[in-house]
């Protein structure tokens, strides 16, 4: 297998190892494909996507993750899979805690609880489009974004620790949102076992001025309109009709989470010998969940996750204020209700049935979304019979989706589905591909208003840099990992 990269041109290499077709949506990397694999690798893709997937080195990373101690069933990759660091993006791995299963900070990533939330409004598409230019400018003024831009709200170090311990419930008490927002957030925005006491001073310093900031890269606030409904009953329950204006917010735990991951990775690297772990990539450094290092990481990771939910909550507050200003009405009369908020970079302790036995697992979702099926107690009461809402952002030119979790996902992928479209083109290749073009004008021709802070943000994030989200969602829908409720088309977007 191509593991020889020590400084060449990595994008030139693809994956040449074995990939066996299981059915029209599933492919297998058999566990004898590489030394050290404990389970098979399973990739969800159709014929169109698998060709793209072979072109980068993500399948090799799926095989590497299959080497983690305690991994059960398989190392999974969703159809939005692409090459990451350590884990692939779009990766899912569950380890059996009782059997010495490990937790790996690389299986969550630097942007702990990067995630996305969806708001609905009472506005119709035709009310929003005439003022989109002005609305996007107003959102841009209200939402701090870009490199080195601090938040509009200051929290003391003691308040920052409260945010890490309690998540959005704390900031809602301070006036940044509505109590029902918390109910419609995965895990109510507060993972039990968060331990702000083990978060380093450096991490706290990085987070100090960043709660309520969007960041840069692929983070965004997007105004959309629903253009297609697949499940009218479920959509109606969520207040969604064709033409409904929606808002999607994508951000994470900012510098605080990045530092927690960095600190934890160094800690885990220093104990690889202690736990006699044999790992194919140092970014996969890990420790048993049930160990001092495992507990310390989980305590810090959960703190960062709660911080991320609070961050998206404050961003929501800023977006509501922008809408209220634009339309000259209170945000409540405009709706702006939170449909749901999902994490897509996280590790959670969950109980799942494996080979007829209920096991306590550490489920790593790295660019993958929880998608619990109907009836699960962790789904808010008003959606419980439907299944968990899953929000899938696409690129800024095509579409985004609202899905629901399924029983099939519970049986097959520990209740997990994809998280987005998945990149297909490197950032530099995207800038080269945009040479001589104006992405802003191309989007405007499609009726999409874009504002960004970074000089290359639109070029790097152009629609062609991503797989077609319609195909990605088609695969998870056909595989039964989640089912479509509706599709949204972008009207306007702000990027960092």
């Amino acid at each position: 297998m191509a593991r020889g990269y020590k400084g060449g041109k990595p994008m030139a290499q693809g994956y040449n190892g074995p990939l066996e077709r299981i059915d029209e949506c599933r492919w297998r990397i058999p566990k004898d494909a590489e030394k050290g694999m404990r389970v098979d690798g399973i990739i969800y893709a159709d014929d169109r996507l698998i060709e793209l997937i072979r072109k980068d080195r993500a399948p090799e990373q799926v095989a590497n993750v299959a080497c983690l101690p305690g991994i059960v069933r398989a190392s999974y990759a969703m159809p939005d899979i692409h090459w990451g660091y350590g884990f692939c993006i779009g990766g899912l791995a569950a380890t059996d805690i009782g059997a010495g299963g490990v937790v790996s900070p690389g299986g969550v990533g630097y942007d702990i609880n990067c995630g996305v939330r969806l708001l609905t409004t009472n506005l119709r598409r035709e009310e929003a489009t005439p003022v989109m230019q002005s609305l996007i400018s107003t959102i841009y003024e209200h939402v701090p974004c870009g490199v080195g831009v601090g938040g509009r709200v200051r929290f003391s170090p003691a308040e920052e620790r409260e945010i890490m311990a309690r998540g959005p419930a704390f900031v809602v008490e301070r006036g940044f949102g509505r109590p029902e927002d918390v109910e419609h957030t995965e895990a109510r925005g507060c993972l039990a076992g968060a331990n702000p006491g083990v978060v380093s001073d450096r991490a706290c310093q990085r987070g100090q001025n960043q709660c309520g900031t969007l960041g840069a890269g692929n983070h965004f606030v997007e105004v959309q309109a629903v253009d297609e409904i697949y499940d009218p009953d479920a959509a109606a329950r969520m207040g969604i009709k064709v033409g409904t204006v929606t808002v999607m917010i994508h951000s994470g735990s900012r510098g605080l989470g990045h530092q927690v991951c960095d600190d934890s990775l160094r800690m885990m690297e220093s104990v690889i010998g202690k736990y006699r772990l044999q790992l194919p990539d140092r970014q996969l450094a890990a420790a048993p969940v049930d160990s001092p290092e495992g507990r310390k990481y989980l305590g810090a990771m959960r703190s960062a996750a709660n911080f991320a939910w609070a961050n998206r909550q404050i961003l929501t507050h800023h977006v509501r204020a922008a809408f209220a200003k634009q339309f000259g009405r209170s945000d409540e009369t405009l709706g702006l209700d939170l449909v749901y908020d999902v994490a897509h970079n996280i590790a959670k302790i969950e109980e799942h049935e494996v080979d007829g036995r209920k096991l306590k697992l550490c489920v790593h979702r790295k660019g993958a979304t929880r998608a619990f099926g109907p009836g699960h107690p962790d789904i808010p009461a008003d959606y419980r019979d439907l299944g968990q809402p899953v929000i899938i952002p696409g690129d800024m030119g095509r579409a985004s989706y609202l899905l629901l979790g399924t029983e099939q996902a519970m049986r097959e992928t520990f209740g997990t589905t994809c998280h987005g479209a998945g990149r297909v083109m490197s950032r530099r290749a995207a800038i080269r591909a945009a040479k001589g073009r104006s992405i802003k004008k191309e989007l405007a021709a499609k009726g999409i208003v874009a504002r960004c802070r970074g000089r290359y943000a639109l070029e790097e994030e152009q629609p062609d840099a991503y797989k077609d989200v319609n195909i990605v969602v088609d695969v998870v829908h056909r595989a039964g990992l989640s089912r479509r409720v509706c599709r949204m088309r972008p009207l306007g977007v702000i990027k960092g």
Binding site: K6, M11, H82, V147, G148, R206, G217, R266, R423
Partner: protein, 137 residues
């Protein structure tokens, strides 16, 4: 010898940096990282900062050194234009950083979230020292 090359990755960006000595490699890696974040020519070396970092091995040390520069950028808003790296051992590096506080004309366009340890290397080759680093964008 070129000081550094930027390497492609599907979602992120990396560098391969070179140097006749490890000190030069570290200095060039710092410049490479700044060239991803913004345009180094817009940053003036007006102020100096002393840094000292430790790590468990030479490759982790390069990552820790670059992470220190990111920390200064994010928390103290100090942009490093040039690193005068005084000493690099297997586990410790000392440097004087020359730069200035972030200003709008720096046009910092890319946020580096972190210095990853994915295929992180520092090695001595027949042409001198070479290090590869991937950044999470």
């Amino acid at each position: 010898m070129r000081p550094f090359e930027i390497t492609d990755h599907t979602a992120d960006v990396g560098i391969t940096a070179y140097g006749a000595t490890r000190e030069e490699l570290f200095a060039n890696a710092a410049l490479g990282m700044l060239s991803i974040i913004g345009d180094p020519d817009t940053v003036a070396p007006k102020q100096a900062r002393e840094v000292q970092v430790q790590a468990s091995d030479p490759a982790a040390l390069l990552a820790a050194f670059l992470a220190e520069l990111l920390f200064l950028l994010e928390v103290e808003h100090f942009v490093t234009r040039r690193a005068d790296v005084e000493s690099v051992s297997d586990t410790e590096a000392r440097a004087t950083l020359h730069g200035e506080p972030i200003a709008p004309h720096h046009d910092l366009h890319t946020e580096i979230k972190a210095v990853t340890h994915h295929e992180l290397t520092v090695e001595h080759t027949e042409h001198g020292w070479r290090g590869t680093v991937l950044f999470d964008i």
